[in-house]
């Protein structure tokens, strides 16, 4: 029996308190970002010796989509998980019922997946309105967004289960999420980075998602590269889940 939908329901109930503000943010922030980055900044960049083959707005839109999914995946898996372990202790409540560790972990993953499914759908609609989608392949960016969410969420969940105190999240965001946001290929090609850093960027799940989504919205994906990207993101999600199972067991079943 899989009891994860029961754990999922907790997160949905909890989210219902804030959903209005959350949906408005999901709608307003892509508009603001695209206007500032794509329309404003985009007008003055992309004129150098090596201009991008597409308008900057079209280039940056899928990057922003990926970056936002990364942020939600990581954020929803940091403090809320630590809270459910230590503050509301809701995981302890769940584990006193028929739910098991894997139900607890998967129930939260379902929640993150549906959060990102909603946000990325809104985002895709907004960037379509901005005229940056050039192909029906863009539909595939939607499940990729959900997979990207899991590639970030699952490892962060594992990390949250392992952490003793929430200060560790500052390090995660400062040295992990924010650098990836800035240098992971969302805003400019990672080929601009010096050697060494470029290879690090290639190894990040964000770059893999950005590159895949960009090819999908611009309408020029290649099968083998797309599969590699998908497999790589799935690997992050799978390893994250395995680690989460372990850190949760050590933390909650003592």
């Amino acid at each position: 029996m899989d009891y994860s939908p029961r754990a999922y329901e907790y997160w949905v109930t909890s989210y219902r308190r804030v959903w209005r503000g959350s949906i408005v943010t999901s709608l307003v922030s892509p508009v603001l970002y695209l206007t500032a980055m794509g329309v404003g900044l985009g007008k003055i960049v992309n004129h150098g010796a090596h201009p991008l083959p597409v308008p900057y707005l079209d280039y940056v839109a899928p990057g922003l989509l990926a970056a936002v999914c990364m942020q939600i995946g990581a954020f929803e898996s940091a403090y809320p998980i630590m809270s459910a372990i230590r503050w509301t202790r809701q995981f302890h409540a769940m584990l006193a019922t028929p739910l098991r560790i894997r139900d607890v972990v998967l129930g939260h993953q379902l929640y993150v997946a549906s959060r990102i499914a909603v946000v990325s759908a809104i985002y895709l609609a907004v960037i379509a309105v901005f005229g940056t989608i050039h192909s029906f392949f863009a539909i595939a960016a939607w499940p990729v967004a959900v997979l990207l969410g899991a590639a970030f969420s699952a490892p962060v969940v594992a990390f949250a289960g392992w952490l003793e105190r929430d200060e560790g999240f500052n390090a995660l965001f400062r040295f992990g999420i924010i650098p990836m946001f800035l240098f992971g290929g969302a805003f400019f090609p990672v080929t601009q980075l010096p050697h060494g850093f470029r290879e690090i960027a290639y190894a990040t799940p964000l770059w893999n998602a950005v590159d895949l989504m960009r090819h999908l919205t611009l309408g020029n994906p290649t099968l083998w590269l797309s599969l590699i990207h998908v497999a790589y993101l799935a690997l992050w999600a799978a390893v994250g889940l395995l680690l989460a199972q372990r850190t949760f067991t050590r933390r909650l079943v003592t």
């Binding site: 029996m1 009891y3 029961r6 754990a7 329901e9 907790y10 109930t13 909890s14 308190r17 509301t88 202790r89 809701q90 302890h92 409540a93 769940m94 584990l95 006193a96 019922t97 028929p98 739910l99 098991r100 909650l252 079943v253 003592t254």
Partner: protein
């Protein structure tokens, strides 16, 4: 010796009720690394019983409860709960348990009713069913008027009652209560006890831990006193008092230092004596007869004759040293 007698008693109890015990533990052990929290204890809990684990902090009560609740794997020994093995059938056992944990696990941002509903859904109850049960149970713990309120501003006693209501949502056969009234004011404690009495009358098997002697005396048919991971004594509250203390206690209060006396000055009227900083406790079977003698010999400031309580048993067994 006494342990074996207790087991024989439990065995005969089982024969009488012709039913296997709801909880059966032999040599039950829990280790955390080097630390042995529970050190090979034996006990049985029969259906319909109210069974208590009494003991100072760190005696192993909560660890035992967590093993029964199938959230903590046993290190050694055997444990069956509802006839099932927690190692294999944890989820199936938990489906039939109610748990009131030592620390509340309510989501304080959600409402009283939302907390009930979410918890009921963990057991796979339908939405309709869980709503009906939530209403009924909130009424039972007198929280129906706060059903729509957030949990955060509720008092400690209300939160505790909500946790109890929540633990009943799956109509459990066995209710585990880990220090159900610790930290509550007297009114709130009595409100909780009242609800637990009613459950007991309805035939719910209660297993609770406490370090309040009055709570154990009020609620438990049978209890074990735990100390440093082992069971020191086992019996009904009355049996324990009779066996391990005298009928009455005479408390003599002194304005300054407690005078030093030998038990022998009371001519065999005093079974045992205990000296506290400002008081002398005389354990006797006839307090009133002792009062004139005590007045004459010791000139106390005040004299109080009281019934012996489980607290006297408990302190005798586990000592007066503060345990952290």
């Amino acid at each position: 010796m006494r342990g074996r007698k207790a087991l024989e008693r439990a065995d005969s109890l089982r024969t009488m009720s012709a039913e296997a015990p709801l909880i059966h533990a032999r040599g039950l052990t829990k280790k955390f690394g080097e630390l042995t929290a529970v050190d090979g204890i034996d006990f049985d809990v029969a259906r319909g019983e109210a069974f208590g684990f009494l003991g100072p902090n760190g005696a192993g009560k909560s660890s035992t409860m967590r093993m029964i609740g199938c959230v903590s794997p046993i290190t050694d020994g055997t444990l069956t709960v509802l006839g099932l093995d927690p190692r294999r059938d944890g989820a199936a056992i938990r489906q039939r348990l109610g748990v009131v944990p030592q620390l509340d696990t309510l989501d304080t941002e959600l409402t009283v009713r939302e907390n009930m509903i979410i918890y009921g859904r963990y057991f796979g109850l339908s939405r309709k069913e869980v709503r009906a049960r939530a209403d009924r149970l909130l009424e039972f713990v007198q929280l129906d008027e706060r059903a729509g309120s957030r949990v955060d501003p509720l008092s400690g006693g209300m939160k505790r009652r909500l946790t109890i209501a929540r633990s009943l949502v799956n109509e459990p056969e066995l209710l585990l209560l880990d220090e159900p009234t610790t930290g509550l004011d007297p009114q709130a404690r009595h409100a909780v006890w009242d609800r637990l009495f009613r459950l007991k009358r309805q035939g719910v098997t209660l297993v609770l831990t406490t370090h309040y002697m009055d709570e154990a005396e009020q609620l438990c048919d049978r209890l074990v006193i735990m100390d440093r991971g082992t069971i020191a004594e086992e019996g009904s509250p009355l049996e324990l008092i009779q066996r391990l203390s005298t009928r009455e206690v005479v408390e003599l209060r002194f304005p300054d230092d407690v005078p030093e006396v030998e038990v022998s000055v009371f001519n065999g009227q005093v079974a045992r004596m205990e000296t506290l900083p400002d008081r002398l406790l005389l354990y006797t079977d006839d307090g009133d007869a002792l009062v004139p003698v005590a007045h004459e010999r010791l000139h106390p400031q005040s004299v109080l004759v009281r019934r012996s309580t489980l607290e006297d048993v408990f302190l005798r067994l586990t000592g007066r040293t503060l345990v952290d």
